[in-house]
């Protein structure tokens, strides 16, 4: 999914924009119409989309890195092929989304190179879960099952987004995410039904991923971290449900399954409250969350370093591919 969790610098243009055009625009999206790349749109809308979609896109790409660690290590040929297919899909999602973001950035004279630089300079964030280490093969299962499962829930929330190119990209992405969740679930099932060591490995992975999964949907309100953008994205009909509603949907879908496998979560208070009709759980450490997404998570530096090395190391290739490079 990839919540918009951090403020960019939003310009104050909105008031200077033509109020008539603005009204017309709002009427269109409220009527359920889709906005296309060349249509007029308020600056705030464009900037919100750029932030949201570039963060989503770069998170797909950074998200391939933790799983990549397990691609060659996958324990059977079938698992090797399965995880290879998955990380390839994630790269494909990144590519698709960055193209959507690039079209939105074009009026500002910016392109993908700027996004990559923003990533390396820490101006463009990637999703909290992809800052985390992977320790065992069970992590590959838990990522596919629960992280992709969480992604399906938050992306489904935007399947009717008012911006057409994003909405269409999400349709395609969500269809593939379903396979990812199945791939993850198959790994998890094999471990759950396996040896004592395999079960212990799985439980340990669930324990380590638990708070990152709660954080996945972002804080319930802006007051928690002072930087939630959910109101803007709701106003512009990009998303429907709130962060907390999404988290509840996730817990609703997955906690019963986790318990049914005989697994636990590292929160003794976690339970469904029949009266309140919602899941009760211990809040994750939102200070830690802020730290993680500002690239101070356990593996933030190492993962960024991979992209940095790739960028430096391939500079001669970029030069060679530049339009001026061909020798006659």
């Amino acid at each position: 999914m990839y919540n918009l969790v951090e403020h960019g610098i939003y310009s104050e243009n909105e008031q200077k924009e033509d109020p008539e055009k603005y009204e017309e625009f709002m009427a269109r999206i409220e009527a359920g119409e889709k906005i296309e790349a060349d249509d007029w749109m308020p600056d705030e809308y464009r900037q919100t989309l750029i932030k949201l979609i570039s963060m989503h896109g770069i998170s797909e790409i950074m998200g391939a890195l933790p799983e990549k660690e397990w691609v060659p290590k996958a324990p059977t040929l079938k698992r090797k092929l399965g995880i290879m297919a998955k990380v390839q899909d994630e790269m494909g999602h990144g590519q698709l989304l960055l193209r959507v973001a690039e079209d939105l950035m074009a009026p500002y004279g910016k392109d993908r190179g700027d996004l990559m630089r923003d990533l390396l300079e820490g101006k463009l964030k990637f999703h909290n879960v992809f800052h985390m280490p992977t320790k065992t093969w069970a992590d590959a299962g838990v990522i596919g099952w629960l992280v992709d499962g969480a992604a399906i829930i938050s992306q489904t929330n935007m399947l009717d987004a008012s911006y057409g190119p994003y909405q269409r990209a999400l349709q395609r992405i969500c269809a593939e995410e379903v396979f990812h969740a199945q791939h993850g679930e198959a790994i998890v099932m094999a471990l759950a039904e396996g040896t004592k060591e395999q079960r212990a490995m799985l439980q340990d992975a669930v324990n380590r991923w638990w708070s990152a999964l709660l954080m996945f949907f972002g804080p319930a309100s802006a007051s928690t971290t002072g930087s939630s953008k959910q109101e803007v994205t709701t106003k512009y009909r990009i998303r429907k449900s709130s962060n907390e509603e999404l988290r509840q949907a996730f817990l609703d879908k997955y906690l019963p399954r986790v318990f049914a496998l005989g697994l636990t979560v590292p929160d003794e208070t976690a339970h469904y409250d029949e009266d309140k009709q919602k899941w009760i759980y211990k809040q994750p450490d939102w200070t830690e969350f802020k730290k993680i997404i500002s690239n101070n998570g356990p593996r933030s530096k190492e993962r960024l370093r991979l992209r940095e090395i790739a960028y430096e190391n391939n500079s001669w290739v970029r030069e060679a591919l530049a339009p001026t490079a061909a020798m006659s």
Binding site: I61, A64, L65, K68, E69, V71, P72, K73, A74, P75, T76, L77, K78, R79, K80, L81, M84, A85, V87, Q88, M91, G92, G94, Q95, L98, R112, W137, I187, A190, L191, E193, G194, T195, E197, Q198, E302, R305, L306, R307, I309, A310, N313, N314, W316, V317, R318, E319, A320, L321, A325, A326, M327
Partner: protein
Amino acid sequence: MNLVETPAEAQKNQSYYNALVELLYQFADDDFIVSFRGSEWLGLAPHIEEDVAFSSITQNTMGHAFLFYQLLEDLGEGSADSLAHDRSASERRNAVYFEKVNGKGTYVEEPYYDWALTVVRQFLYETFKKVKLQAASRSSYEPLAHTAQKILMEQPYHLAHWKMWITQLHGATEEARMRIHSRLEEAWREILDALELGPLAEEMERQKLIKKEKDLQEEWQQSVEETLGFLPNIPLGKNLGNGRAKQHTKDLEQALATLTEVYVSDREAVW
């Protein structure tokens, strides 16, 4: 020579069987290690489009390894998974040039990988793979012929991809041209075992499992020259050793340690 249609038939003739499994190990082990070196690149390619394309090729290549290991499994050599994950370096038949590391560092830490090495290696490999598969598609062992035909439905796209890269880089900046050249010369000194059929080469030919080694090599050279417009002006060598004779470097050990880490942690478990 009659066609051999089933594993059971192949097993009846010991010298046929020996030559056949030797050839299949070469196909399987080459694809397995080439796919591994490719998968190390994920997320590190020159651009995202290439990451997507390269990982697709890498995945297909692992699929091909799987098909060849399955042919070996059908012949009674052991399960495909144990053949892939539970054979030491001294049992592998892949060419040594394919096991060579992508560069300094590891795929998770400080990977200073060289795109020129990869482009050259993938191009030379896929060119040879096509030649070898075409010959195998007329093999006396029908299950191999079918597998080769099946792989040839997608493999030419892989070759086309690397042809495009090598032509483009070679025709670009002076630096790119130099880098490609020096990797090509290096390849020439190291790739010869890849172009050979190993100790049972004559038996393979006699049993009509595949063409004569010399013919395969010639076809490969012609095809490489057609793309590049030249060939390195040095003799082909195998300076790193002879993988077909199960000689390997520590680079293969490094690769196998990663590839088999989880599998060997519990061979009996269902993963």
